[in-house]
């Protein structure tokens, strides 16, 4: 197996509220290898984005990492000082946000934002940084980059802006990119282009990608492996092809049963009755048990730990050797 870039171990994120801490992420573990794209999928509120924010050290108050560790190439980064973590951001971990229309500072020229990022993380001179910025814009497929570099964000279309955002994320050649719903706000026709671009660049640079999305179509298109999240926990993680073709966790089964085509979002989860619990009311045992068609008594008491099933790891009592034997 290739080199592990990111390793998340039992990550727990809590939000402190007046009524005590709420656990948004509960003992989540996964790895991402060099050049690999890990899709993280789940409903709104499943904790996908919070996981991404935790990895890059940008959880907003009152949230905090309450347990577990995050390792980047084997070094812990979850306990770094704010200044040390800042140096990791942009330099070693890049990030792409959902909405390209609001990700760029409207008052600064596109080129200045790239140059600023480059000069923060490298010792390029102003002139060299500008040349590099033009190269980056060319690389993400912006036509006439030597001219567009002096444009303001509002002069770019949504898809073009997302390309600029990708150029910014890649500027300092990070080892890992966290892409949080990078295509959700885009037109369907542009979505595919952006996904193709992201895939190509990561292959070329050997960058690992954590691709957060609620869209199984995007996952099927882009990811190598996929982690299915539910109520702040990983329900199932495994190679995309096998998870899609043969999901194991009952939630994943429901989710895959409702895979839309790339252009279609409607009635995605209509096959699973009920809705995901709020953070304040996560049931005991398996978080999915009230909605699970195959629920049995143990599910209501004991939280299932991930166990290897085929090529995947599944957090479900159904696949426990003891239950199977029974």
């Amino acid at each position: 197996m290739t080199e592990k870039i990111l390793s998340v171990r039992d990550l727990t994120v809590a939000f402190d509220t007046r009524r005590g801490p709420l656990t948004a992420i509960d003992r989540v573990s996964f790895d991402i290898h060099r050049g690999e794209i890990l899709g993280v999928v789940g409903e709104s509120g499943a904790g996908k984005s919070v996981t991404g924010a935790a990895v890059i050290g940008l959880i907003d108050r009152p949230g905090r990492i309450a347990g577990g560790e995050i390792l980047l190439r084997g070094e812990r980064i979850d306990n770094l000082s704010p200044e040390a973590m800042r140096r990791v951001r942009g330099r070693r971990i890049g990030m792409i946000f959902q909405d390209p229309l609001t990700s760029l500072d409207p008052l600064f020229r596109v080129g200045d934002q790239i140059v600023e990022t480059l000069r923060t993380h490298t010792d390029l001179s102003g002139r060299a940084a500008r040349t590099r910025a033009i190269d980056l814009l060319a690389e993400v497929g912006i036509p006439a980059p030597e001219r567009r570099i002096d444009g303001y964000p509002h002069e770019f279309s949504g898809g073009m802006r997302q390309r600029v955002v990708i150029a910014l994320a890649l500027a300092a050649e990070p080892e890992l990119i966290i892409a949080d719903e990078p295509t959700t706000a885009l037109d369907v026709s542009v979505q595919a282009q952006i996904i193709t671009l992201l895939k190509r660049l990561c292959r070329e640079h050997g960058t690992a990608v954590m691709l957060v999305t609620h869209d199984m179509g995007v996952i099927a298109e882009a990811a190598d492996r996929v982690a299915v999240m539910y109520a702040g926990r990983v329900a199932e993680i495994g190679p995309v092809a096998s998870v899609i073709a043969k999901p194991h966790h009952p939630y994943a089964v429901g989710l895959m049963g409702a895979i839309p085509t790339l252009s279609q979002e409607a009635a995605r989860l209509s096959q699973i009755p009920g809705s995901m619990p709020r953070l304040t009311a996560i049931p005991k045992g398996c978080a999915f048990n009230p909605r699970c068609p195959k629920v049995f008594s143990r599910c209501r008491v004991e939280r299932p730990e991930p166990i290897p099933v085929d090529a995947s790891r599944v957090a479900c009592h159904l696949y426990d050797a003891a239950e199977r034997a029974a």
């Binding site: 990791v88 951001r89 330099r91 946000f97 600064f108 923060t120 002069e155 955002v165």
Partner: protein
């Protein structure tokens, strides 16, 4: 953008026309102008003659046209109290008011922005709490009370600063300035603080609220995710975006400094236009009142126009894109 500015100029002219109409109505109908000119022993025939000479029997429209023509040439009539041309009286006092308003504006902007930024960035610190409390008092207390308080503290008790007047002034052509003498500068401090305090608190609250808003935007999150230094995120990106909307509102507020100086000038017996206006109201000196109203309207309208232009300079989105972009 040209169309936008043209529309603004037309609006400004309309405002001036309305105020001119009101000023004329005051001038013509509030009290009988003849009474102000003649003595008690004038005969009815003489009064009628004066009426005709003054053109008071002409159609109102003709009178308004005549009034407007005079105003444009700087003829505002003769003051009832001083028996001097109003334009001359105003010109003598204008430097005092403008210098005071200028200092108050600088004070309000510099201190207001600094305190607002501090309160937004360190919102939980005790100093921010103190600033908030001070701003509540500054916004609640009437200007004249603050002036009296400052006089009691710094003039009566400590004896540091003068309590009234402009100190020594230097004559530069028709302009008199207090900027060139030590006593003139000292005399400016208390009135400027008094006049600027209300605007300062407004600007502080505005900057704080706006900056908190900006700090939550995606592009600030993205700037953090790019690993920019806290300094660059806060003072380059957040501050610039904060100040764009603040400019408009602050500009409008600062326009009112001129009018608010009525109160401050009375408290400090500052020999400016505001004091002249208050004396005119007390003594029913209509020509001065209407001229002052027109002058303030003119200043307001000019400031608004300047603010509009400034706004387009600062915000690239409003600038005319000159062929560079698509």
């Amino acid at each position: 953008m040209l169309a936008f500015l043209l529309r603004r100029v037309i609006q400004a002219a309309a405002v001036l026309a309305v105020v001119g109409l009101i000023a004329f109505a005051m001038f013509r109908f509030a009290g009988d102008p003849v009474n102000q000119i003649v003595g008690p022993d004038t005969t009815v025939a003489e009064r009628a003659q004066i009426r005709t000479d003054l053109g008071l029997d002409d159609p109102v429209l003709v009178q308004f046209a005549r009034y407007a023509g005079n105003v444009v040439r700087g003829r505002f009539g003769i003051s009832y109290q001083f028996r001097q041309p109003v334009s001359q009286l105003l010109a003598e006092r204008m430097p005092a008011t403008l210098e005071l308003a200028f200092c108050a504006t600088i004070f309000a902007l510099v201190v207001g922005i600094l305190m607002g930024v501090y309160c937004a960035l360190f919102r939980d610190s005790w100093l921010a709490g103190l600033f908030q409390a001070v701003s509540l008092i500054g916004i609640s207390l009437p200007t004249f009370l603050i002036g009296i308080l400052l006089i009691y503290l710094f003039s009566v008790t400590l004896g540091w600063l003068p309590s009234y007047g402009r100190g020594d002034t230097v004559r530069l052509g028709w302009w008199t300035t207090g900027f060139l003498t030590a006593s003139g500068l000292k005399a400016l401090i208390l009135p400027s603080v008094t006049l600027g305090l209300f605007q300062m608190t407004l600007i502080m609250r505005l900057v704080r609220a706006e900056m908190l808003e900006v700090l939550r935007t995606d592009y600030i999150r993205f700037a953090r995710a790019r690993g920019l230094t806290t300094r660059a995120v806060h003072l380059r990106h957040a501050l610039k975006n904060t100040l764009v909307p603040v400019i408009t509102i602050a500009g409008l507020q600062l326009g009112s400094v001129i009018a608010f100086s009525i109160i401050t000038e009375t408290v400090f017996q500052w020999p400016g236009m505001g004091l002249l206006f208050v004396q005119a109201v007390q003594n029913v000196d209509i020509p001065i009142m209407s001229a002052y109203l027109l002058l303030v309207a003119l200043i307001f309208v000019t400031i608004n126009l300047v603010v509009d232009i400034l706004y387009t300079v600062v915000d690239p989105r409003l600038r005319l894109s000159t062929g560079r972009a698509a």
